[in-house]
């Protein structure tokens, strides 16, 4: 079999598995945990598309997530708009933020982009507190409407958006666009000498990354039916980066696997109560020490080369 056909087969199997899990373990609680894990998958894949491929680390992905989630909250709670509108407006607002941060900083070399993303998300977190009249402050916005009434149906909607995002990002990453992004990671000056408008590709990739992260933020908001300042938190950005590393950077599907794996790990360690963070951190350190390329993507490449 050719490598692309094995990849498609693997993707279909993974999709079928994710679709089947709630049919076997059907508790509302499990489905809820899985829905959140899928949202993390969307965030990790979108982070990986820009930062994993170009190597320009984004330390404030929560900026796009929070922007998308709060857009959903405002539209829904303050203006009473149909929750479906959230899925249209959230990506647009997130893209607006990506342009504001990316346009001035991605034309520069150095750490400016990473720092601007980090401080951008921190500033937004503080603004939600300062303008608590509109944002609800620490309590956030409550009482969002569900998009779909059934928890199971909403899980499948989230899964559909995740699958569509991964397919879109993978197709882009495997196209000439992806070749250029990986070249930017290699050396920007050489890339310019090859006649490539490096700034354009970086900003456009960040916009795509932001749109999908913002969509994930809105999906998350309409699952929780609540948005809070935590969605702008730096720890959320860091957790996403860890998921990308565990999954395998630059592969798009690896980070999705990393997100699901680490969410499942967090849940399964719930019984350990206060020791949970210790064990979680230990497992992470072991994975990253022994598998610096990550777990999911290298594993899949092995399976693939065994089959082809």
């Amino acid at each position: 079999m050719t490598i692309p056909s094995i990849d498609w087969l693997g993707a279909l199997l993974a999709l079928a598995l994710l679709a089947a899990i709630p049919l076997v373990f059907g508790s509302t609680y499990t489905i809820g945990v899985l829905t959140v894990a899928l949202c993390y998958g969307i965030w990790a894949a979108s982070w990986d598309f820009m930062s994993g491929l170009t190597g320009r680390e984004n330390f404030g992905h929560s900026l796009f997530i929070g922007a998308g989630a709060y857009t959903a909250g405002f539209l829904n709670v303050n203006f009473g708009a149909s929750p479906w509108w959230s899925l249209v407006a959230a990506p647009l607002v997130a893209v607006l933020f990506s342009v504001i941060i990316g346009f001035p900083t991605l034309r520069l070399r150095g750490p400016y982009f990473a720092l601007a993303m980090l401080s951008g998300s921190a500033v937004m977190l503080n603004l939600t507190i300062i303008f608590s009249v509109y944002t609800g402050g620490q309590d956030g916005l409550n009482g969002l409407f569900p998009i779909l009434d059934s928890v199971l149906a909403y899980y499948y909607l989230t899964l559909a958006f995740l699958a569509a995002s991964v397919v879109l990002l993978r197709l882009l990453a495997n196209s000439s666009w992806g070749v250029i992004l990986r070249a930017i990671r290699g050396d920007e000056a050489t890339c310019q000498a090859a006649g490539i408008n490096v700034t354009f590709y970086k900003i456009a990739s960040l916009m795509i990354s932001a749109a999908i992260a913002g969509l994930g933020g809105a999906l998350y908001a309409h699952y929780q039916l609540q948005v809070g300042p935590d969605l702008f938190a730096v720890i959320l950005s860091i957790n996403i980066i860890i998921m990308v590393y565990v999954g395998g950077m630059g592969s798009i599907y690896g980070p999705v696997g990393g997100a699901i794996l680490l969410n499942a790990l967090t849940e399964s360690l719930r019984g350990l109560s206060e020791y949970r963070l210790w064990v979680y951190t230990l497992v992470l350190m072991i994975i990253l020490f022994f598998l610096p390329q990550g777990l999911i993507a290298p594993l899949w490449r092995r399976v693939r080369s065994a089959l082809s």
Partner: protein, 254 residues
């Protein structure tokens, strides 16, 4: 015949250092011209000014009837002026053919053929056909130079700027590379501007030489004229023993 590249009054300061001082020259289409000068003479800085990697303080650069002043590096490449770097910097983690494919995706040549196929053809052209699938970062130095040239050629340049293509190469690699550059000039009519230190190969390769020192053009002429030029001898060749060595070198190729 009108010049392909017309440079005049080009200046660049780095703080108190006048790195490029009133540089002016013209390149005729189809010529191979060398830039000679000791370290720190401003040769690479001049390349960086011409290719837009560093903005010039003042001066005009007319290429193919069009001003390049103020254009970004990628825009200049898409006008048909390509360069290689003194230190080859391949895209790590990508195969040799992917390295060249990137340049085949430049707007100027995007529709000149299937990028991947063009990249394979270009690698064959520079003698790396059998190394297309190797990771670029494992290639030896000499192959990296060829890869740089293939990448530059991929953008279909009218003028190719080579920054010390022979630096760090062994004697056995220099001859074939010089022959490759010569064949590019012969078969494609490519105009070439080349910075080099390796005198023997350099002087055999070029038609004209622009000699620089302390940021200035101190002499322009044929290789034979340049090696006898008093300003060049004073600035670049220095004391008598080296002077004699060059005479001997030159006699050997005449």
């Amino acid at each position: 015949m009108s010049a392909l590249l017309q440079v005049s009054g080009l200046n660049k300061h780095f703080g108190g250092l006048h790195a490029v001082k009133n540089v002016a020259f013209a390149l005729q289409p189809g010529s191979i011209t060398g830039v000679l000068g000791p370290n720190g003479a401003g040769k690479t800085t001049m390349f960086n000014l011409l290719t837009g990697f560093i903005p010039a303080d003042s001066g005009t650069v007319l290429f193919d009837g069009r001003s390049l002043v103020g254009l970004a590096p990628h825009q200049i490449v898409n006008c048909g002026l390509a360069r290689t770097f003194q230190l080859a910097r391949p895209f790590a983690g990508m195969s040799a053919v992917e390295n060249v494919e990137v340049a085949c995706l430049a707007p100027r040549v995007r529709h000149a053929g299937k990028p991947r196929e063009r990249a394979h053809a270009l690698l064959g052209h520079v003698g790396l056909g059998d190394k297309a699938e190797l990771d670029a970062d494992v290639l030896p130095y000499g192959d990296l130079r060829r890869l740089e040239i293939a990448r530059a050629l991929a953008t279909n340049p009218k003028l190719l700027l080579l920054d010390e293509p022979f630096a760090g190469l062994g004697a056995s690699e220099i001859g074939p590379l010089a022959e490759l550059i010569r064949s590019l000039h012969r078969s494609e009519g490519l105009t070439i501007l080349i910075i080099e230190h390796k005198l023997r190969e350099f002087m055999q390769l070029v038609h004209d030489v622009i000699a620089m020192d302390f940021g200035e053009v101190v002499a322009v002429g044929t290789p034979a004229e340049i090696v006898r030029h008093p300003r060049v001898i004073e600035a670049y060749l220095g004391t008598t023993p080296i002077d004699l060595a060059l005479e001997r070198d030159h006699a050997g190729l005449a």
